[in-house]
Amino acid sequence: MSLATSARSCGAWPVVIALAIGLASACAGTLGAPGGTPLRISQITDVGDSRRQASVRLVIEGLDAELAGAALRALGRYERAIQIDPGNPFVYLALARYYVSIADAERALENLDRVQSLLPVDSRLSPRVEPHVLGLRGGALQELGRTTEADRLLARARQLAPSVWGDARLDVRELR
């Protein structure tokens, strides 16, 4: 007895249809997930609840301040972004990028740990953040002289996001 026959016989059509729709949409969601495209913070201003959105906007203000050469102002913005939403992994990502850029490897790694703690395994954004985390970790380890590990991580980042990590660094504009 086929599944359809058995479903028909027990009058479970509505359940089967609902299951089919649910499964199809879940598949579409999975297939449509923007895995692979490296994350830019300005693309996620409408993701999450209002606190996350406000926090992300402050991260963008911080990145803009970095672009304008006002690093301390940028740090102030990141602190405020954490104040609104301490669970926002993208603040720590921006901080990690900043610390790699000033060759403060210890702090960069601290912030990358935080990113990984905060980005759940089931997040649709995880694959887009992954190249940044790998590349930044590679950059920090390079600074610490752990070149073998660093090269491996940077190579992986380059493989995942060649357009961004081709030069083995993450520019503010590339994260913004």
């Binding site: 740090l75 601290e110 740990d113």
Partner: protein
């Protein structure tokens, strides 16, 4: 003796003879006398001149020392973290109106233009003209914004000038307190060129109208005052100039003696000779006394503008300027808060004088006179951040001398959130009071021996202290129980035992959340004799799961687990997480017999809440000197001390404790959202703890007596309700965020009775978390093939897709 007498008497004997000899001798004698008198006068004059010179030089030195050195002691101020306003913020929950009031913003009528520091609260809209916030790196411009409200939340923030929508705006930080010197003087220094001219005009009109022309003393004014006082028969009017008032306040005592008045006059002349009028005026305006606020003295127009009108002095209008000028004569007697009628009458008198002297015109006078006093509100501050200020003082004393803190006017920007602090203080105070009402036996007549408590709240990701209340009443006891006390942690220590057991290690046995523990009688030999732990209910529960053991806070199962894992490992993990106190290597450590501080517990639990990353405790953001230079910036630090998977398993266990276990009462008032928590009750119920966390906040509550005395109640009835009140008020009962599951943690269906993997056909199943590689290999029901469930699922899935394809 004889010779002396002879000399003295001889002139008398000889004088009649000389007089009889002719008229030239007396004239000669008179000349001689004159010479003597002149000589004496010269000597006296010289002596007086010399003495005067010495006095003048001495006074001059005093004047120069004060004027050329640091003129004012300015206490350093401590500020809270700024409140952030953003779309989605619940304005009721965030107590936005309260924040405006505390910051001295004034309510204005709707549909009127808003000067800086004012707001209008309309039905679905709040307009506010935010003040500028001066900071070397975090400065904010003054700007008017409109907050569109939907329900209780901000829907949109707009800037009317540019019609742009705004992502987030910051309110300036609130002042939490200041480090005063012995004089407890509060002063905001201002420069003359930043003052509104009308303020200076108002003060000159009423205090010293000929200031620009007199040399330090005003004889016309002194004469006028003398006449007025003679007519009145008592001292009604003073003749002091601004310079004399400045001299009096700077150098002299307030007594009214001739000597002091003379000294004042001489010093006023010296000041006028040495310094220009602008410098004298600026010093006066910063020195002048504006009355008492609580235990502190308000000095200077800068501070007075902040205190009376909640705004910077440069934005005072005419009526406000006149009121400040009016207060100088008698600031406490005509305080506008205590005596608004008297203050208004005197203000109008000042406005009248200004008009009479041609400093303002009649229209200005009339307009200002018609204004109400419009003062900034004084709110009784229930937040009591003094324990926190003491903690900062200790931390700062490593780099800054106490004298520097009380005199150099530093601005210390802290991490404390004023709303969080206020709610913590209220929860603790009211929670203990309620407890005493329900249990009168806990009430102590002597307040110094009363039941005590503390609350500390920390942001787990950053280690920032958001609230710290070290006791129920700072006035009674300044001992900070959150940072200075070391108390037995009780069962709140148990999660460290479970973490030590759950953490993967090479070669050692590791447990999973599905492992079974033995809760049967246990006796261990210790140097002080056999030790046999008992459970709270005095019963043994046989074989229990790891989850059940922690959720029910079973002592025996936990003690046995600590023995299996090794007490040394428990100590190691507790230290790694942030416990710094000495932890003795004894079996009873597992049950929390070691003494730790609430601050340490907050840090250790933050490490768990933060996914195994330990934050450095952080209470100061930065320090800025009066010139606006950043002296120090304290950045966030954290360190991974535990793998994120193990930390997540502990969080999951503690979520179970808050859901079904000893901390389940935490949801009694309907708080929704993720909470992980642990109760802790020490031996004899002396120390009652509740440590709980959400994805964004760790809060520790400790309750007990300072002296060893049993409270006689379990922590779930004492500390838990205080935590629940605090977090409930803070979050509005809706906790945001989640504890993200890391990649290394897998979800597997297990048989709850055996801990084996549940496959189709297993009578009972529940979901459990496992570190990757530690999932159970045994299956339920017995005899089924491991992995059968996946095969079954895949077969069904294949059939379903075949069917779907056929249908399409």
């Amino acid at each position: 003796m004889a010779r002396t007498r002879k000399r003295k008497t001889s002139p008398r004997k000889r004088s009649p003879q000389r007089r009889s000899r002719g008229g030239r001798r007396p004239a000669k004698r008179a000349r001689g006398r004159l010479r003597t008198v002149v000589f004496i006068l010269a000597i006296v004059g010289f002596a007086a001149g010399f003495t005067t010179s010495v006095v003048v030089v001495h006074l001059d030195r005093i004047v120069r020392t004060r004027f050329d050195g640091q003129r004012f002691r300015v206490p350093s101020r401590v500020y809270s973290a700024p409140a952030i306003i953003y779309p989605g913020l619940d304005v009721r929950l965030a107590d936005l109106r309260g924040a405006f009031v505390r910051l001295g913003y004034r309510a204005a009528e709707a549909n009127r233009s808003l000067p800086e520091g004012q707001y209008s609260w309309e039905k679905n809209r709040i307009r506010v003209h935010l003040r500028a916030f001066d900071h070397p790196t975090r400065s904010e411009p003054p700007r008017e914004v409109v907050l569109e409200i939907r329900g209780d939340s901000i829907d949109e923030i707009r800037e009317p000038s540019s019609r742009r929508t705004v992502g987030a705006v910051l309110l300036e930080p609130e002042q939490l307190g200041a480090y005063y010197g012995p004089d407890r003087t509060q002063r905001e220094l201002v420069r003359l060129d930043e003052l509104p001219p009308l303020l200076v005009e108002a003060i000159l009109a009423v205090e010293d109208q000929r200031f620009e022309t007199h040399p330090g003393i005003d004889l016309r004014r002194i004469g006028g005052a003398l006449l007025a006082n003679l007519r009145a028969g008592s001292i009604r009017q003073g003749g002091s100039t601004l310079t004399q008032q400045l001299v009096k306040n700077f150098f002299l005592t307030p007594e009214r003696t001739f000597e002091r008045k003379a000294q004042e006059a001489v010093m006023a002349l010296i000041v006028e000779l040495r310094y220009d009028k602008r410098e004298i005026l600026e010093a006066y305006l910063n020195e002048i006394y504006f009355g008492q606020r609580g235990s502190t003295e308000i000095h200077g127009v800068g501070e007075a503008a902040l205190r009376f009108f909640g705004k910077r002095v440069n934005s005072l209008d005419l009526a406000e300027s006149a009121l400040l000028a009016a207060l100088i004569q008698s600031p406490n007697a005509i305080s506008p808060y205590r005596n608004p009628k008297g203050a208004r009458a005197r203000r109008d008198l000042v406005l009248g004088l200004m008009a009479t002297q041609g400093r303002i015109d009649e229209a200005q006078r009339a307009a200002a006179t018609s204004q109400t006093l419009n003062l900034a509100s004084i709110t009784a501050d229930p937040s009591d951040a003094r324990y926190f200020l003491d903690l900062l003082r200790v931390q700062l004393s490593e780099s800054y001398d106490p004298e520097v803190l009380s005199s150099q006017g530093l601005k210390i920007y802290s991490t404390l959130e004023s709303r969080t602090q206020r709610l913590a203080a209220i929860a603790l105070r009211e929670g203990i009071a309620e407890l005493e009402r329900d249990h009168p036996e806990l009430v102590e007549a002597d307040p110094s021996r009363a039941l005590q408590g503390c609350i500390i709240a920390m942001r787990p990701q950053t280690g920032e202290i958001l609230a710290l209340v070290g006791g129920r009443d700072y006035q009674v006891s300044q001992f900070d129980r959150c940072t200075q006390a070391r108390r037995q942690a009780g069962s709140a220590f148990k999660p460290f035992v479970y973490l030590a057991a759950l953490e993967p290690r090479i070669g050692g046995p590791s447990i999973t959340l599905a492992s079974r523990l033995d809760d049967s009688p246990l006796e261990l030999a210790t140097p002080s004799g056999p030790w046999a732990p008992k459970n709270f209910d005095l019963e043994f529960h046989g074989e229990v799961s790891v989850r059940e053991a922690l959720e029910r806070s079973l002592n025996v199962a936990t003690a046995r687990l600590a023995q299996e894992v090794g007490v040394g490992r428990v100590v190691d993990i507790a230290h790694r997480l942030g416990i710094e106190s000495h932890l003795p290597l004894v079996p009873s450590l597992a049950l929390g017999t070691a003494e730790v501080s609430p601050l340490e517990m907050a840090r250790a639990y933050s490490s768990i809440a933060g996914g195994g990353v330990r934050p450095q405790v952080h209470s100061i953001e930065d320090l800025v000197d009066p010139k606006g230079n950043t002296l120090e910036r304290r950045e966030l630090h954290h360190e991974r001390v535990l793998d994120e998977g193990t930390a997540h398993l502990a969080t999951s266990l503690l979520q179970g404790v808050a859901h079904r276990g000893t901390a389940a009462g935490v949801r009694a008032t309907g708080i929704r959202g993720p909470i992980a928590a642990k109760t802790g009750t020490s031996d004899d119920e002396r120390d009652l703890w509740f440590v709980g966390y959400t994805p964004e906040l760790v809060a520790v509550v400790w309750i007990g007596f300072d002296e060893p005395r049993s409270v006689g109640l379990a922590s779930s009835r004492v500390a838990l309700p205080i935590w629940r009140r605090f977090v409930g008020e803070l979050t509005g009962g809706e906790i945001h965020g989640r504890f993200p599951r890391p990649q290394s943690v897998r979800v597997v269906d297990i048989d709850p009775l055996t801990g084996a993997r549940a496959v189709w056909g297993c009578p009972e199943r529940k979901r459990e978390l496992f570190l990757e590689g530690t999932e159970p290999t045994d299956v339920c029901p017995r005899g089924a093939v491991a992995g059968a469930d996946e095969e079954g699922f895949q077969r069904t899935q294949r059939l379903f897709f075949d069917w779907l394809r056929r249908q399409l």
